[in-house]
């Protein structure tokens, strides 16, 4: 079917392309950055948690707030702010939770050292258990034990039954 000179498929294609361009428009208005700033943007945005979705960084998230924070981040980078400035800005508003890598301090000591402490404790427990097992290995049988065992095994021929006891 031809409509106005171009095929339906071509029109659909053009429509989709136009729609995609529309989507991209929000990036066009975003602050332009040089290559180095762009790399820092990706790095920083990837380390900031989106507070609406909580399990995505603001780089990955398309939540409204994440987009606003990305715009803010770009503006701060363009204004020459340092990484510390930017992280401080975010933490002042949203708390340490906004950082995927929370700073080491009173409240986060367990978070940072907990896994290491657990690993060491587990390994130590494992080694201790192994040692104890070795120490408590059953005493070799003496002749009296063997005689009792033979008696219990009863009718079996001596060499067969005793084999496993040696």
């Amino acid at each position: 079917v031809k409509l106005g000179g171009i095929g339906v498929k071509a029109r659909t294609f053009l429509f989709i392309m136009a729609a995609l361009l529309g989507l991209n428009a929000q990036w066009v208005v975003a602050q332009a950055l040089d290559a180095q700033q762009e790399a820092r943007f990706v790095h920083l945005a990837g380390a900031l948690r989106c507070l609406v979705c909580q399990n995505q960084s603001i780089l990955e998230s398309h939540a409204d707030l994440a987009n606003d924070l990305k715009v803010q981040l770009r503006e701060m980078l363009a204004a020459g702010k340092s990484d510390t400035d930017i992280n401080d800005y975010m933490v002042a508003r949203y708390g340490d939770f906004v950082l995927y890598e929370p700073p080491l301090k009173g409240g986060t000591v367990v978070l940072w050292l907990g896994p290491a402490v657990l690993l060491i404790a587990t390994l130590a427990g494992f080694v201790l258990a192994l040692r104890r097992r070795k120490r408590s290995a059953p005493d070799p049988l003496d002749e009296a034990d063997r005689n009792v065992a033979r008696e219990l095994l009863g009718a079996r021929p001596q060499n067969e039954g005793a084999d496993s006891l040696k």
């Binding site: 609406v52 707030l65 949203y94 708390g95 340490d96």
Partner: protein, 177 residues
């Protein structure tokens, strides 16, 4: 020996208790770093009144509530009647922060559901919202006479939360003045 056998059980019960406590907590409720700090400065246009602005300094000297709302916010619809009832009690001024909204839609909302706010200010691009650390509308901030944020409620306020949480806090702040 017998006691030793109970160690794994005890450890398991410990884990269960911690996980059970974890289940009762709302992961969306994050501690705000702004509590007991000076509220961020702002100067925003008042909704429905051309050329009129409100800034933080204008509210100095009184305890007040800042409620972040928007006409596109579904949970705000649930909260709105609670705010209307609160406003009727005339306890403290309630200021609205109309967050990333269209003025005409916001005004329609207030016409339809009643206007509990002394006034609402328009944060069209959400910058003031970011300064206040807003991440889930509706949010409500309790601000004291010195312009310090004393409490933050995330999510829709209920009559119960008003009665048992916010009103006692307000009363305490008013006594302190």
């Amino acid at each position: 020996m017998k006691l030793k056998a109970l160690v794994p059980l005890a450890a398991f019960l410990c884990l269960v208790v911690f996980l059970a406590i974890g289940l009762t907590r709302d992961p969306r409720e994050l501690p705000s770093p702004l509590i007991d700090k000076a509220a961020p400065q702002f100067r925003l246009p008042v909704l429905g009144e051309a050329d009129r602005f409100l800034s933080l300094a204008d509210m100095r000297g009184q305890v007040w509530l800042l409620n972040v709302w928007a006409s596109w916010c579904v949970a705000c619809r649930e909260e709105h009647p609670v705010l209307v009832r609160f406003a009727q009690q005339n306890v403290v001024p309630l200021i609205g922060l109309n967050y990333k909204d269209q003025a005409d839609q916001a005004q329609t909302w207030l016409r339809e559901g009643g206007n509990p706010y002394v006034m609402s200010v328009m944060d069209a691009n959400g910058r003031v919202g970011i300064d206040f650390g807003v991440y889930g509308v509706p949010e409500t901030f309790l601000i004291d006479q010195d312009g310090k944020i004393r409490h933050k409620h995330v999510g829709p306020l209920t009559d119960k939360a008003m009665r048992e949480d916010l009103l006692p806090r307000i009363a305490k702040l008013k006594v302190a003045s």
